[in-house]
Subunit: 308 residues, 2 copies
DNA sequence: CATGCTCACAAGCCTATCTTGTGAGCACCC
DNA sequence: GGGTGCTCACAAGATAGGCTTGTGAGCATG
């Protein structure tokens, strides 16, 4: 739960712009509010932090060291907020939008917003009007149908194999990783390596049947005798929470637990003799390259992001 | 700049709690507001997104698929916001705080908030009262002085060497990486490898003299003839922006450009024959282990986070 | 069939934030 | 010297969004 001292997103954005422009008034103009409003906002932010963030002079404003620190932290929040914004923008039914795409859930959740933000930033930097993207988030089969039928020109799908009958390009991989809670025996450094057979014989926390994650897991373990699950949950967040609390091991998308692994809430376990990698593809119909225009740019951007 | 469709942080938090509890009323109770307020907040959020996020029934509420998507994105924002919150909490002069530490800027900016969030989450999970941390952010030399004089029991410093005269433990590394804008010649895949001599002979974008980043760079290139800088800027954000816009190469902390590299705003270049790694240490005085209590826990947490 | 849970609608209050209007300090330039 | 333009701050009034309280309706369960 968030404490009472967190400024809101608009205030954080204002602070970042002040840092960049070096002036409250200029920042206010950029954000379309008056200089007075900006001044007062910064003031309330300072009362939240308890220290001055901006050193005001009669010829502009600089950040204090504390202000620099807060701006760094705020930048992270705003980066995530921009992805949220891009995601919401893609969901919104302003269907005047230029580029209409469909994507499977993993991609829509973890990758597309970042791609959209990056692409739009690049376009803005080159002085072009950023593309509005409209997205349908659904499962891989439905995405393939939409592209095959021509209803949608560009799709993003996941799966072990490249889809047949459509042109495709690799735009990333989604590795399923096996994680346990920090108190689990496998979390000991010496035991962070188990065999596929051991994994299969252990009762796991899993997603509901039919989910992409579960399908991949079951296919990978198909040849081994599998213990029944300890828990069957319908969201990745629920699985993460259950595993962190010690319910048992689980296999989840690497993207979904990046932060948990970094903070130590979950611990990754290596499973020998098991390939849990899914390939993520952009798919389209027709020529060897994606349709000219924003679609091709987005695919290029995604493919480039995948290489890093 | 953020669009007009971004819900505020409290609203995002509410949505996440609704997802977890499966009930508007329960979520409201947890956040200390009335059920009606929660209902109305979710409603306004839905009008921002343009689609229903929550499927209401007379026996609770579930998220719609769109809602799940938004919750995932919101989770990222809230994770960053929690670090901001922890950072602000550490800055605030509620000096009733239990644990008083000092940290160099790189650590305060990029690592400490995460450690504090992680430690507090672990403590809360074990049913203990989370530690309040109070932080002084300053340069490495001053941190060493504060710890040596006994004014502060625990410090975090950066530098090529471990500090002398104090006990220490490695809590991470901060690699300086060389980056260029995407349009720079070095950004071509075939040229992403330059020698130290080439780097030294190239006019760079640098921080002001005396900054940690610049000191490390100059020491690493000390034996080579160095070209004068193209630009000298006083914040990492300014350096990132200048490099992205094509001003020239720069060496910056890896933590600071993680996101830029991921989105392709900046491109990393490998420099052969150059070690730009700084070791980050926790430091204290006295026994071979950090002072008993929260200080020791924080060091243990940080050291553990460093290993992943 | 009462009780308790769910959520929704309506009225009124309250407070945070915005705008407009004004003023003062500093720098630059004619 | 004094105009011009930039900086930020103070004050007063309007607005809007979010809150609470009060109420009611649908569903499940003992």
């Amino acid at each position: 739960m968030l404490g009472p001292h967190v400024p809101d997103l608009r205030a954080l954005e204002l602070l970042v712009v002040v840092a960049r422009t070096g002036s409250l008034g200029a920042a206010a103009a950029e954000l379309g509010i008056t200089q007075q409003a900006a001044s007062s906002r910064v003031r309330t932010m300072e009362s939240l932090v308890g220290e001055p963030l901006v050193a005001r002079s009669k010829r502009g404003s600089e950040l204090t060291p504390t202000g620099e620190l807060v701006v760094q932290w705020a930048g992270r929040v705003l980066d995530a907020a921009q992805e949220l914004d891009a995601g919401i923008g893609a969901l919104r039914a302003d269907r005047r939008g230029h580029l209409d795409i469909a994507a499977s859930l993993t991609i829509a959740e973890h990758l597309l917003p970042g791609w959209i933000v990056g692409l739009r930033a690049q376009q803005a930097q080159r002085g072009r009007q950023p593309t509005d993207v409209t997205m349908t988030a659904t499962n891989t089969r439905r995405v393939t149908e939409l592209v095959t039928s021509g209803e949608i020109a560009l799709g993003f799908v996941e799966g072990p194999d490249a889809p047949r009958g459509l042109r495709h390009r690799l735009v990333g991989t989604d590795e399923l990783v096996v994680v346990v809670g920090p108190a689990h025996p496998w979390a000991l450094r010496s035991r962070r390596r188990v065999s596929a057979a051991t994994l299969a014989a252990t009762p796991l926390v899993v997603r509901e049947p039919g989910s992409g994650t579960r399908t991949v897991l079951e296919r990978a373990l198909a040849d081994l005798p599998m213990a029944p699950p300890v828990l069957e949950l319908s969201s990745t967040a629920a699985v993460r929470a259950a595993v962190a609390a010690g319910a048992g091991p689980a296999a989840v998308g690497a993207h979904a637990v990046r932060d948990d692994l970094a903070t130590g809430r979950l611990v990754r376990v290596t499973v020998t003799g098991l390939d849990l990698t899914r390939r993520l593809h952009a798919v389209w119909k027709g020529g060897p390259h994606p349709p000219e225009g924003p679609a091709r740019e987005l695919v290029a951007w995604a493919a480039r992001a995948a290489r890093t």
